[in-house]
């Protein structure tokens, strides 16, 4: 069943929407959550919470890309859960992926990150991503949005690990330059 048909089921308040969503995206959702939470039980709960959340939001929202829509809900839920459970260590487990990329953002003293406008960086990121070739954009998002390992990206894209590593390094450098230029401008 395609995404439009599933969304239509949500809008008709037909509970088979949940079954169809789970059939199509359930496994991918659970896998993505597991990468963030590191716990199979948390990942399974996040999978069902995501579908429940989509069910509640859907009368208002009408997503064009159901998979991406569900992934965003899942990512928020998984990060919340991760933060709660690791409150003392905070980003200790997942720092590797985020840290690589956050080096691209210019440092700011004091409470600059509290004051930053919500969505400001996302807007710049989208502009940057729009300028990338599809392959690079895909590798970038698999790594930094979906938190996939280099090995996973390699098996999904058919690119070598070495190529992915060097590609990511170049993209990070370009992003750092892009953000620096945006800040100046």
């Amino acid at each position: 069943m395609d995404d439009c048909e599933i969304v239509e089921l949500y809008w008709r308040r037909d509970q088979s929407a949940l079954v169809q969503s789970d059939l199509k995206y359930g496994a991918a959702l659970e896998k993505a959550s597991h990468r963030i939470t590191g716990s199979l039980q948390d990942a399974q709960e996040c999978r069902s919470d995501t579908l429940f959340s989509a069910w509640n939001r859907m009368p208002t929202d009408r997503p064009d890309y159901l998979g991406a829509y569900l992934m965003k809900i899942l990512r928020n839920l998984s990060l919340d859960r991760w933060r709660r459970q690791h409150a003392e260590k905070r980003f200790a487990g997942q720092t590797l992926v985020f840290e690589e990329l956050s080096e691209c953002i210019p440092d700011g003293g004091g409470s600059v990150f509290d004051e930053m406008e919500k969505g400001a960086l996302a807007k710049k990121l989208n502009a940057f991503l729009a300028g990338l070739e599809e392959e690079k954009r895909t590798v970038f998002l698999k790594r930094y949005f979906f938190s996939e390992s280099i090995k996973e990206i390699s098996s999904e894209t058919g690119l070598s690990s070495a190529k992915i590593k060097s590609m990511l390094m170049r993209i990070r450098n370009r992003l750092a330059e892009f953000l620096a230029e945006e800040n100046e401008g």
């Binding site: 890309y65 998979g67 600059v112 990150f113 919500k118 058919g158 690990s161």
Partner: protein, 215 residues
């Protein structure tokens, strides 16, 4: 002070994590769809490797006198003498039987780099790193001397990354690669990641293959 810096770092990470969720759904859908198409290229790669291996096998089975430098044929000769002359160092190394060489764990790397011995290390496409300690001390010294003294190297004609990496650990923590330009290609206590910039000289190729053949 460090607490403040740590706090800023955490805020930065939290901010970034939130902002990433603002990425356009179109791009996410595109990345998710790639999952289904992925994998098409790997079988092609495997087929190419199989073709290359069969060519090498055919070459190895032909009479040695026609193809190999040594007159005694292929069977009783060291690996580098079994390879046609026109192979690059990369091709020659990859044509060797990988199972003849041990592979390296991350924990074992630092002690190896400071072992006082010359060690050759190589990697293909991010696979486990294979290595070989150069047993012949004189040969080890010649390799080090050549690597350190080469004044000029030939730049690679194509900037494409083949995924092949080759390093020489001098035993004192210094690591060099014949694939990196002189002066810019020395790391200390670690294997540098790189895109090949230069082509190893014939002299260097001979020295390295001699060391590998002694394994």
């Amino acid at each position: 002070m460090s607490g403040g810096t740590q706090n800023d770092r955490e805020k930065k990470l939290a901010y970034f994590a939130e902002e990433l969720n603002g990425v356009d759904d179109r791009f996410l859908a595109e990345a998710m769809a790639k999952r289904a198409r992925g994998g098409l290229r790997r079988p092609v790669k495997i087929l190419l490797l199989a073709a290359l291996l069969s060519v090498l096998l055919t070459v190895a089975l032909l009479p040695g006198a026609l193809l190999f430098r040594n007159k005694g044929g292929a069977s009783a000769t060291p690996p580098n003498d079994n390879l046609p002359d026109n192979l690059s160092l990369e091709e020659a190394v990859l044509a060797l039987d990988r199972e003849d060489f041990p592979t390296l764990s991350e924990e074992a790397l630092p002690p190896l780099l400071f072992s006082g011995k010359v060690v050759l290390l190589w990697e293909e496409d991010g696979d486990e790193i294979a290595f070989l300690e150069v047993g012949d001390e004189t040969l080890g010294k010649r390799i080090c001397a050549s690597l350190l003294s080469e004044k000029e190297r030939t730049p690679v004609s194509s900037p494409e990354d083949s995924g092949f990496r080759f390093w020489v650990s001098l035993g004192d923590g210094r690591v060099l690669s014949p694939y990196l330009r002189v002066g810019g290609g020395v790391s200390y206590g670690a294997l540098s990641d790189y895109l090949p910039e230069t082509v190893p000289s014939e002299n260097m190729k001979e020295l390295l293959l001699s060391a590998l053949s002694a394994a």
